[in-house]
Amino acid sequence: MQKEADIRDPLILGNKTYHDITKDISRPVEGKANKYWWILFSLSLVLFIWGILCMAYTIGTGIGAWGLNKTVNWAWDITNFVWWIGIGHAGTLISAVLLLFRQKWRMSINRSAEAMTIFGVAQAALFPLIHMGRPWLAYYVFPIPNQFGSLWVNFNSPLLWDVFAISTYFSVSVVFWYIGLIPDFAMIRDRMSATISPMKKKLYSFLSFGWSGKAKHWQRFEEVSLVLAGLATPLVFSVHSIVSMDFATSIVPGWHTTIFPPYFVLGALFSGFAMVETLLIIMRKVVSLESYITIKHIEYMNVIILLTGSLVGTAYITELFMSWYSGVEFEQYAFLNRATGPYWWAYAIMMTCNVLTPQLYWITKIRTSFVATFILSIFINIGMWFERFVIIVTSLHRDYLPSAWTMFSPSFVDIGIFLGTIGFFFTLFLLYSRTFPVIAQAELKSILKSSGSEYKNKK
């Protein structure tokens, strides 16, 4: 039993009891979906199917189906990849780093944030695969013992580091998430009737791995959580650092920047929290979790967004300063062109959304408003997509030799695949919200007596 300062605001509203929590969390799983869920789900599914068709078309005809050219060889594909990977970061930060720092407010949101991570990384992982000219040979990037002679992967290549970074991140995230889910699956299992829904009962019995709530189980559960949090924490920083090295280790002006690893990690957290907000603000309404995801949670996240957003802004300005200070004309031109060249509008969107928008959170009224936060979170999501677009396309389209300078314009397939991943993401998330306990209720119950509104008010 933990103590908490009385002046802290309650984290669970509505005078909930333990049983109330159980009921609230299992309601979406046990009940029927409402109209909104079905509308959102059908829309997502349509987008997802459209995306699959676009991917099939690409694989069937060639990467030429996209808008790329001899100068700009990456554009929306890698933009989307980095964007999705970045979105994943908040989940791991919330569940691992905040666990280590004993931030109790994470308990209402970590499950969904981590689900978002996993679904986001799944979208991201699609792009390195489908952006290949010959995706059917994708296994070449794994160091598999083979009969090709001395052929082996190139450990110098940041793309190979990506393979390891992302697969490690994905697997650790999945395991961490799953371990946390076990007691909650057991809770659902226990509430299921073997006569009314035998299949579901069987399924949840299997998923809960025979959890019985013994003290030994809890002890191991806590230990494993801590160990995994320790493992996942460096991954929060390593994954996006390595993704940034795809750019930083190259020699393209605008990419070749040592600031990239911290800059990318901060950007990832920034965009990740924005996406968590977008999702949770919808979800608390759709599955009636207003008592658990409170304005306090949103405010805490807004503070993180304000911090990381300001740091990202500093990174942008540092980058500009360094390019000027370097005295290298290619660097100078790359940034001049970024801000004032043919893609000035993309740069302007990025600057507005990522640097100006979070500064609004200095204002308490905005920071503590669901509506304002929702709108601003969308802005940040857009801004962070454009950040990656700006970095990739404006650097490539005018690099060293002006003879090769050209521009990029997306084809309908580029757009279709991006929309498809959004559809895929939401399809997964909506399915998750109907089948998984969306809040780590077992954990949450541990703070009911310290942070529940009823108990706070008693004092």
Partner: protein
């Protein structure tokens, strides 16, 4: 006493163990438990049921079948009897002569398994069209069968009918006309004479699509001989060209070589080159000083020059030029593109005044490459229209397309009783004639040529005719009851060693040439005036020439060296004139270029919706359109592309701006160097003072003081101290931008053609490109002086100057020894070779394109689609004939992989093996890449820098040598020599 040795197999045998004997009797140590197995009752109750067994069987069969689907079936037909001269895998080379009525060259043809696949130069230089001509051989759009009024027939029928009709005409005393291109073949001329003798009233008229009649007529007036002189640009110290594109299309592909010989900065002397022209030509772009004028000013300026040389005052524009000419009498050349006899007479007088005849220009050693006569052609058309011609035989010409007054010709054609076209194509003209007789391509033909006095080259077939064609000479012989041109040709040259000459491809022979002296002529005089309004002139593009090879996809996709656009012709216009007319060019969202369109009327003829390309260097109030486009019967690649400039003719133009935008396909969308040191250049004066001028080394400040870029490195160096180390030197002073290397590279390396739409998307596949940069009016120095902001400076730098200096820079894979591409490939598909090349393993490539992003030279090309056997890319690689040109030594890349210049590794391997077999070292002259061997000016030199006998080794030590973007320290194996201009 003999004692048989006994060997025992083991101690048991030695000890006579009875078991040994027992085992010997018993072959199977243990009985095979067949009965036990069959008697096992469990067998029938095994867990694998019959159903399961059938499932397994079905699955295995299906899996095996699917696995078998993978391999496509290719038919290989082996030789039943191996031809003596063909060894599969070994190339044969034949010397022959390329002549298509427009271009001439003595060439060496590489054949593999009996198929010609590559053209190299033999005794004369090659240009892009000559390099590409091998693909025209395999053009499935050629005329394959004799045709009568558009219907296929056979030779026997056609011949019988033609002979009957010719005889009838002869009996009626009718006139037969033969309209041909310039005939450079003496034996063909003799055959035509034989034909004339057989049929009596025969007229032979020669015409050139791009006429040189003016010069020929002027020479006849001045010297009494209707020939072209040979020009010796290598002997000149001042070269003045009034519009003649002698480095590109004018007369002869050999001039570039002479020109560069006269301009070698190493000798401390470069011929000063002035170009006075309205349309920026390849030659003009190489000039030390280019003077813009309107076409109507040409004769006035020439007249002014003549009077200035005779003591008058020169116009301010040509004052310096006049002075230079006066100081270099007997060491200058004036050439002019005019087709006006009077203007050319004036040019002759100027050259005579300067004492250039028999010094730099030789008439006693004439050239026979152009003999067309405009007057004869005009007379023929009149006679045809008057019904005075009873039979017309055409050969190698396409008058319905190339004549300005094609309508008159066509109407006359209808009045000729018998019309016979001998042609490679069923082209615009052949379609209008009664008989279309397929001619043979030069690679399928016998022949000879007499390009200039005393020089003869021979043509020999390198492949049996692909279609039912018959060469013109054979047809003519057939129609006079003779046969076998091969024998005729051999008998024509009885005084030479036939086999040796055929092997060499040429022979020399004393030839009579008139000893010429300049007649007294009235030197025409013209006012220094110009006509008002916009003037139009036609010009030739390096890729298309007169349009003979319009159906050649390599040429269609060859970017124009100046506009860098392909698959089009367009009206070139200066930015100022365009602004006056309200015409713009702009880049759309994917960077591609769009232009406005106009209707242009010249000589009462109108072309509608012609796109305008804003071309720096085009004189104000002038426009130009390339000939060779607007074909309607060229074949699937050439039809419907561009507009026919021949139909307009030169003259004053009326331009009317119309709505709509035209989509260009340009391979370079940005035209200036943006103040970067990409092409390093200096002037001859500075170079003589300091050979390093313009080639300042990039240094970095380190804790040990300033260090050159190549010493500040994190790389582990490759060991190139032993073995070969292949390097390439590209001299930017001698590169004239002619693009022969680009086509040569296409042919050697099976580079795919992607078509206009893909080029427009910046997806051209050229392994070797020739970057062209224009100077801008804004420079860093000017910006510093005027204190403009960096924003303004860079914005202004993007605009090329209206009177630009031009540089060309061939860029292929630089084969970096610190290659940025190699480090980033996740699967090590691109890695470094032990001989300095950057290799590309296509079958390892998964296509992440990271290498292409990280290549600072942007030379890596991605296969966005499957470019072979794909109906969407219906070019030579989607055609059974077109595919015959593919080089079997180079793999055809599949979609999804990166490709790039390999430094012709297949050629290097071949010479290394040859040298090894011969037990010798690789010789310098054998070490050639496709580009270096095609270069007419020897600007590209390839070789082994570890071998002191190789020229490239000394070139690497030159003061002018530098590597592109050297501050990156990519350590390329390709290096450049600074560009030097003679600005004195």
């Amino acid at each position: 006493m003999t004692k048989a040795k006994k060997y025992w197999k083991g101690l048991a045998e030695l000890n006579d163990n009875p078991l040994v004997e027992k085992l010997k009797q018993n072959e199977f140590v243990e009985e095979i438990p067949v009965d036990k197995f069959l008697g096992d009752k469990e067998l029938s109750s095994t867990s694998t049921s019959r159903r399961d067994f059938l499932k397994f069987l079905g699955f295995s069969t299906a899996a095996a079948t699917l696995a078998a689907c993978e391999t496509p079936i290719n038919k290989v037909i082996p030789y039943v009897i191996k031809p003596e001269e063909i060894t599969p895998g070994i190339a044969n080379y034949y010397a022959t002569t390329m002549y298509d009525g427009h271009d001439y060259a003595s060439v060496l043809v590489k054949t593999r398994e009996g198929r010609p696949i590559k053209i190299d130069s033999n005794k004369s230089a090659t240009n892009a069209r000559i390099q590409a001509s091998v693909l025209s051989l395999y053009d499935s759009g050629r005329l394959k069968n004799p045709m009568k009024v558009g219907v296929d027939t056979d030779w026997n029928t056609a011949d019988a009918e033609i002979i009957t009709k010719l005889n009838k005409i002869q009996n009626n005393g009718g006139t037969i006309a033969i309209l041909s291109s310039t005939i450079v073949s003496p034996s063909t001329k003799q055959l035509i004479a034989d034909f004339s003798a057989a049929y009596g009233n025969v007229k032979h008229i020669q015409m050139d699509a791009v006429s040189y009649s003016g010069i020929l007529d002027a020479n006849e007036a001045s010297f009494g001989v209707r020939v072209l002189p040979t020009y010796n640009f290598d002997k000149a110290e001042v070269i003045v060209s009034f519009g003649a594109d002698f480095l590109g299309n004018w007369l002869n592909a050999d001039y570039a070589k002479q020109y560069v010989a006269a301009r070698n900065p190493k000798n401390g002397k470069m011929a000063k080159h002035y170009q006075v022209e309205s349309t920026l030509s390849l030659t003009g772009s190489n000039a030390d000083k280019r003077i813009q004028m309107k076409p109507s000013e040409q004769k006035g300026l020439l007249s002014n020059l003549f009077s200035a040389l005779n003591g008058g005052t020169a116009d301010s524009r040509i004052a310096k030029l006049t002075n230079d000419l006066k100081n270099n009498t007997g060491k200058s050349i004036i050439v002019c593109n005019s087709n006006d006899t009077e203007v050319q007479t004036l040019v002759n007088s100027i050259n005579n005044k300067l004492g250039n005849y028999e010094n730099t220009i030789s008439l006693s050693n004439p050239s026979y490459l152009k003999q067309g006569n405009d007057v004869d052609v005009a007379t023929l058309i009149e006679e045809m229209n008057a019904g005075k011609i009873d039979a017309l035989i055409t050969y190698n010409v396409n008058p319905s397309y190339t004549l300005q007054n094609a309508e008159a010709y066509n109407s006359g054609l209808a009045k000729v009783g018998l019309t016979i076209a001998t042609s490679l194509y069923n082209d615009e003209s052949a379609q209008k004639m009664m008989y279309a007789c397929p001619d043979n391509h030069y690679l399928e033909s016998w022949g000879d040529a007499n390009p200039s006095n005393g020089i003869y080259t021979l043509m020999q077939p390198t492949i049996a005719p692909l279609f039912k064609g018959r060469q013109f000479q054979e047809s003519i012989m057939n129609w006079i009851g003779k046969s076998d041109y091969h024998v005729y040709l051999q008998n024509f040259y009885t005084d030479i060693d036939w086999n040796q000459s055929l092997h060499d491809g040429y022979f020399t022979k004393n030839q009579f040439a008139a000893n010429v002296t300049l007649f007294e002529v009235n030197v025409p005089s013209f006012d220094l005036s110009k006509s008002e309004g916009v003037e139009f002139e036609m010009y030739e593009k390096i890729s298309m020439g007169d349009g003979t090879q319009a159906n050649n996809p390599w040429l269609q996709e060859l970017p124009d060296p100046l506009s860098r656009a392909c698959w089009d012709n367009y009206l070139t216009m200066s930015a100022a004139t365009a602004a006056d007319l309200g015409i713009t060019n702009e880049n759309v969202s994917n960077g591609a270029l769009n232009g406005n369109m106009v209707n242009i009327t010249v000589n009462a003829k109108t072309l509608k919706n012609v796109p305008v390309m804003i071309q720096p260097g085009q004189a104000n109030d002038t426009v130009a359109l390339a000939v060779g486009y607007g074909r309607t019967a060229a074949g699937k690649c050439g039809d419907g592309i561009g507009f026919n400039a021949f139909s307009l003719g030169n003259g004053n133009a009326k331009i009317e701006v119309v709505g709509g935008e035209y989509e260009f396909a340009a391979t370079q969308l940005h035209h200036t160097m943006m103040g970067r040191e990409i092409v390093k250049e200096t002037t001859l004066e500075d170079f003589i003072k300091n050979p390093y001028s313009g080639n300042k080394q990039v240094t970095y400040a380190t804790h040990n003081g300033e260090k050159p870029a190549d010493q500040v490195t994190l790389w582990d160096e490759h060991d190139h101290s032993t073995g070969h180390f292949w390097n390439m030197s590209i001299d930017l002073t001698s590169c004239i931008g002619c693009s022969a290397c680009v086509v040569s590279c296409h042919a050697e390396n099976n580079v795919p053609v992607v078509g206009k739409e893909e080029v427009r998307k910046s997806r051209d596949m050229h392994w070797l490109r020739i970057d062209r940069y224009f100077s801008s009016d804004m420079t860093k120095e000017l910006s510093k002086k005027e204190k403009t902001s960096a924003f303004d400076m860079y914005e202004k730098m993007e605009d090329p100057s209206g009177d630009p200096e031009v540089v060309f820079q061939p860029v292929m894979c630089q084969h970096c020894n610190h290659a940025p591409c190699e480090t980033v490939c996740p699967v090590a598909a691109t890695s470094h070779g032990s001989e300095g090349q950057n290799h590309m393993a296509y079958n390892r490539c998964v296509g992440t394109r990271y290498c292409a992003n990280n290549c600072p030279y942007k030379v890596r090309r991605f296969n966005w689609f499957q470019y072979s056997d794909n109906d969407k890319f219906d070019f030579n690689m989607n055609d059974d004939y077109g595919k015959m040109v593919l080089n079997p030594d180079v793999v055809v890349r599949s979609r999804g992989v990166i490709e790039k210049c390999s430094m012709c590794i297949q050629k290097i391997q071949e010479i290394k093996l040859d040298a090894k077999n011969a037990g010798k070292r690789v010789r310098d002259e054998d070490a050639q890449t496709a580009c270096s061997s095609a270069c007419p000016t020897n600007a590209i030199v390839f070789g082994d820098v570890n071998d002191e006998t190789h020229e490239v080794q000394s070139l690497k030590k030159e003061e002018r040598a530098y590597t592109l973007l050297e501050h990156l320290n990519t350590a390329p194996s390709v290096f450049y020599q600074t560009k030097i201009r003679n600005k004195a």
